[in-house]
């Protein structure tokens, strides 16, 4: 196993490797992470192998702090339960853990996002007669409303980063206050139930974060891309005044872990 903590060079890693590594870096040691299927699983597992061995992962179907020896392909997978601390049901996951306030970090994906971090995973077009239907919320809205921090992993496309998304599945920093639907700061709707909100969006081109007003800004650009590349793939006026530099590539050690320990079967990593 390559133990080098040197960063790999462009050409030595695939976009998905960087996504996984950048995702892993969002995990703090000790975090309780509530993660969805797919890339989030790679990121949290990589983090556990590296700087965050004390982080614990909850999957929606009810397994808590599992130590799968084979990568799950579903959050309901039998593999999630191997050596887990507790295997309950969805009531335990969503109410006993999430609503109870134990979750530090949510790891989510989405089809569309706006500049406040609102996410759409439900439909394209008018909800009442849509053009396409996606999966629907699942735990996206819940995790995003109750985790202290949320990280999104998405594809960078102009049609996915929109000024106004077609349906707000999952709440960002400005949300709709019902019954009127008036847009208000998240805290106004969540009141004493407020715990935090979206903190980062990681795509195949860049890492975005949210400012004090809850507005998305560009933080780092992945090696091989420019700020202009990113702007060209964002459908709203992106704040690029706070760019802090280039996204750190995966290290050789991280790459080795990803391919040899995290996903040796090549389920996500080709």
């Amino acid at each position: 196993m390559n133990a080098s903590n040197e960063y790999a060079k462009v050409g030595e890693f695939k976009p998905i490797d960087l996504l996984a590594a950048a995702g892993a870096r969002e995990v703090n040691d000790g975090d309780v992470v509530f993660a969805g299927t797919g890339l989030p699983m790679l990121a949290i597992t990589l983090a556990q192998y590296t700087h965050a061995p004390n982080s614990r992962c909850i999957y929606e179907a009810g397994s808590i702090d599992g130590r799968p020896i084979d990568l799950p392909t579903s959050v309901g997978d039998a593999r999630c339960c191997y050596q887990c601390a507790k295997a309950g049901g969805l009531y335990e996951a969503f109410y006993g853990q999430l609503h109870s306030g134990y979750v530090d970090l949510g790891f989510l994906g989405g089809a569309e996002i706006d500049k406040y971090g609102n996410l759409n995973t439900t439909v394209i077009g008018d909800y009442n007669s849509p053009k396409v239907r996606f999966t629907g919320s699942g735990g996206n809205a819940d995790i995003n409303s109750y985790a202290t921090r949320t990280v999104f992993i998405m594809n960078q496309e102009k049609r996915r980063f929109r000024e106004k998304i077609d349906y707000v599945t999952s709440p960002g920093w400005r949300v709709k206050k019902w019954p009127t639907g008036e847009w208000v700061p998240r805290r106004e709707v969540y009141g004493k139930f407020f715990r935090g909100g979206p903190t980062a969006v990681i795509t195949d081109m860049a890492v975005f974060r949210f400012d004090e007003e809850g507005l998305m800004y560009l933080d780092t650009v992945h090696p091989g891309f420019t700020v202009e590349d990113v702007k060209a793939n964002v459908g709203f006026d992106l704040n690029v005044s706070r760019v802090s530099g280039e996204t750190k590539p995966p290290t050789y050690h991280e790459l080795d872990l990803l391919y040899k320990k995290v996903d040796p079967e090549g389920i996500f990593l080709p």
Binding site: T73, A78, R79, Y91, N118, F134, A141, S145, R186, K192
Partner: protein, 325 residues
């Protein structure tokens, strides 16, 4: 010492009436009562109302076959093996199925309330979203919230203010008490005690919430065996009404310690049922061309069956090829 009411697969599907409100056991692509759904398609059920904490292959089959008129839930798809519910997508976009969306936490709250016999459940999850948009209340738009349908609440939700601790506003979500629960469980005891393995999902809630409960299982075992570990059991005999014995009834969804999910089968389904013509062709092959579950298993063949069979140590198959390496 009670006994169980054991019936055949065909009889079980025959208990479902057109228009019934139904909920299912399992999670996405695990422990779904698929054989029962196939048989319901064969029997040509119509206008079903599905309440699903989250849907999966089984609901895609019922929806694709035109059995479903109303669908409510938080999610539909097959996770990595077919990310979206292509059949619901087609029917929703085509206006053939009335859809009402919730968050996962909302749906969990609703079935929990139904299970414990209270009319609503409080939650602060998923506030501020279009899930609560009155314009997008699909069941209200379809005129279903006038109190005449006992399986649809008069309101999608209510916003209330906490007067105990001044926590501010939160939601009440209405209970759901489906007419029928279709539950797949690996083991049912001779007195009706039900056990599931590895994870319980919402299965207990679905059983408690429904008026009639049909359990389809891999095997019927001595109740005494299940009673040695009572904390592991899901339901008592008096909570269920009918039992169907039908090995591999969950295929292509998985059943921990019995068989893994059939990834190839699910991927193929998702990729090849996007149009109605495609779905009909698929259904011809896998539902209508076989007259019984035994024929379906023969069609799957020994090789596939054996590949899916779970390791008794791990609960899943170690023979199935899942990735690219």
């Amino acid at each position: 010492m009670s006994t169980i009411n054991e019936i055949s697969l065909k009889e079980a599907a025959g208990l479902i009436q057109d228009g019934d409100c139904i909920a299912f056991s399992g999670f996405t692509i695990w422990r779904r009562p698929v054989a029962l759904c196939y048989e319901m398609v064969r029997q040509g059920k119509k206008n079903l109302h599905l309440f699903e904490v989250q849907g999966g292959f089984h609901s895609e089959v019922l929806i694709g076959a035109g059995c479903v008129k109303m669908w409510e839930g938080s999610w539909i798809g097959q996770e990595l093996l077919g990310k979206t519910g292509v059949n619901l997508s087609r029917k929703q976009c085509g206006g053939e199925v009335i859809v009402d969306d919730y968050s996962h936490g909302h749906a969990v709250a609703r079935i929990q309330a139904g299970a414990i016999g209270v009319p609503f459940f409080p939650t602060a999850l998923a506030m501020g979203t279009d899930i609560l948009n009155p314009e997008y209340d699909g069941f209200a738009r379809a005129g279903q919230r006038d109190g005449s349908n006992p399986y649809v609440a008069r309101k999608k939700y209510e916003i209330v203010k906490d007067s105990f601790y001044d926590m501010g506003e939160l939601l009440l979500m209405p209970a759901i008490n489906p007419k029928v629960a279709l539950v797949y469980a690996p083991m049912v005891g001779t007195e009706g005690t039900v056990r599931v393995l590895a994870q319980s999902y919402n299965d207990s809630d679905v059983i408690k919430a429904a008026e009639t409960v049909i359990v389809i299982c891999e095997e019927i075992v001595p109740d005494e065996y299940l009673r040695r570990e009572p904390t592991q059991n899901l339901a008592t005999g008096y909570e269920i009404d009918y039992v169907v014995k039908c090995p591999w009834a969950a295929h292509p969804t998985g059943s921990q310690y019995y068989y893994d999910t059939d990834a190839d089968f699910l991927r193929y389904f998702n990729a090849n049922t996007r149009t109605q013509e495609q779905f009909d062709k698929w259904a011809d092959e896998w539902i209508f061309s076989v007259d019984s579950h035994e024929e379906y298993l023969e069609k799957l063949g020994v090789k596939r069956i054996e590949m899916l069979r779970a390791s008794q140590a791990l609960g899943y198959s170690t023979r199935v090829k899942r990735g690219m390496r």
